[in-house]
């Protein structure tokens, strides 16, 4: 599988000898283009149009993040999988309230059930999670009763709310308490980690969407608007609990990230570079790990799982097979 390049150092990216070249004060490195799928830029990196042209040609996506680690944007190369047909199907399902609800419901169900799975796992490991587990079950059961997007969003928000409060019981570390969800900027350590992880997840989903015929601008649970990509937000909901949250638990549990890894800025809190690298490295490893997929009967990586989800959605939009979200079983 093509690799993701993460750039934290400051330097210049070039096209050189028909491949990628990264030059910093301390060193220079050639990066094989043919083995590169996406580039994530965290440092101060310079490049020129020639370089962007080259990325377009090779269909490599470039995501950039601000100094604080927030997702800032993407260089989205020219669409290479143009499919008017798929866009029409996507719009059709968006414009028809009922059809949109069907898809949005599945996204909420996927998110909810994966959250339940995470809670279940820690419950069986002796954490007192009976209460949140019960509430999650109850809320998941009501998904089919709601027939407006706002109501669905509310259910999702409620599930998440109870879930986030269960974090304190799971993590059980006084440095990492949840308090309340705060964003832009996050106000405590745990929120900072959640925000950073979610940003990465959104960009990864976007990269996967680029490799399909789907248009990321048309989401179903998140309303399509003038500003941003939304389909990747929808898909992320399903995978956030099983990829990002579990990663956070293990990073804190293994003391790979401690309270000394944060910087207190004027307003919020941000991660130090070392911790960002550690997070990203572990995430990369996680995405590469393979699991046995029951339906297709072979092992697939977490990253591929995201793509399969998109293929399922395509099938649904074409009317071949109704979409059901991926639910983790472990």
């Amino acid at each position: 599988m093509k690799k993701t390049i993460y750039i934290f150092s400051d330097g210049e990216l070039h096209r050189k000898d028909n491949t990628l070249f990264f030059e910093t004060e301390s060193g220079r490195r050639f990066i094989p283009v043919e083995d590169t799928g996406e580039i994530m830029v965290f440092g101060e990196v310079q490049f020129n149009k020639k370089f962007l042209e080259f990325l377009s040609q090779k269909e490599i996506i470039l995501h950039y993040f601000s100094h604080y680690g927030y997702y800032m944007g993407t260089f989205y190369p020219r669409e290479h999988l143009n499919s008017g047909y798929m866009i029409l199907r996507q719009c059709e399902h968006y414009l028809d309230e009922l059809r949109r609800l069907t898809i949005a419901r599945e996204f909420v169900r996927g998110a909810g059930k994966n959250i339940r799975q995470v809670l279940k796992y820690y419950h069986s490991r002796g954490k007192e999670l009976g209460q949140p587990l019960e509430t999650a079950e109850k809320l998941i059961a009501t998904i089919d009763d709601h027939d407006s997007i706002t109501a669905l969003m509310a259910v999702e928000g409620n599930i998440r709310d109870h879930y986030y409060h269960a974090f304190d019981i799971i993590i059980n570390d006084k440095d990492f308490t949840f308090q309340e969800r705060s964003r832009r900027p996050p106000k405590n350590y745990l929120n900072t980690l959640i925000s950073f992880g979610n940003s990465l997840m959104y960009s990864i989903c976007l990269s996967e969407i680029y490799k399909t015929h789907l248009d990321p601008r048309i989401g179903y649970l998140h309303a399509t608007n003038f500003r941003r990509f939304t389909l990747n937000l929808d898909i992320s909901e399903i995978f956030k609990p099983i990829i990002i949250d579990r990663l956070i638990f293990s990073l804190i549990g293994k003391k790979m990230i401690t309270k000394n890894d944060f910087d207190r800025d004027t307003e919020g809190i941000s991660l130090k570079e070392k911790a960002k690298k550690c997070f990203v490295e572990e995430l990369d490893n996680k995405l590469k790990t393979t699991i046995n997929h029951r339906e297709i009967g072979r092992s697939v990586s977490y990253r591929r799982l995201i793509r399969l989800e998109l293929y399922k959605l395509e099938k649904h939009l074409m009317g071949e097979k109704p979409y059901t979200p991926f639910i983790a079983r472990w």
Partner: protein, 87 residues
């Protein structure tokens, strides 16, 4: 699949071969590159190299491993380049 590529070509063509290989593989040390490569890209690289080299003078060897599970890699002395994907 994982590939280790070593080449011994006439000095005139060293740069050409190196440049081509860098598009697909990570440089390890002089005349040696390695890396994960897809079946299709492997064929592409092989064809491109065949076009560059002269059959009667140069030699390029590909060692391919289906997985790196049973292989290990040990460096004695200097590590000339890293192929980390976090820079």
């Amino acid at each position: 699949m994982f590939v280790i590529l070593v080449y011994d070509v006439n000095q005139k063509r060293v740069a050409k071969v190196l440049k081509k290989c860098r598009q697909y593989l990570h440089w390890v040390q002089n005349s040696v590159l390695e890396g994960e490569i897809s079946e299709a890209n492997y064929k592409k690289l092989k064809m491109d190299i065949e076009k560059i080299i002269r059959q009667d003078e140069d030699s390029v060897i590909f060692y391919t491993l289906r997985t790196t599970k049973y292989s290990s890699r040990e460096i004695v002395g200097l590590q000339k380049s890293s192929n980390e994907n976090i820079l």
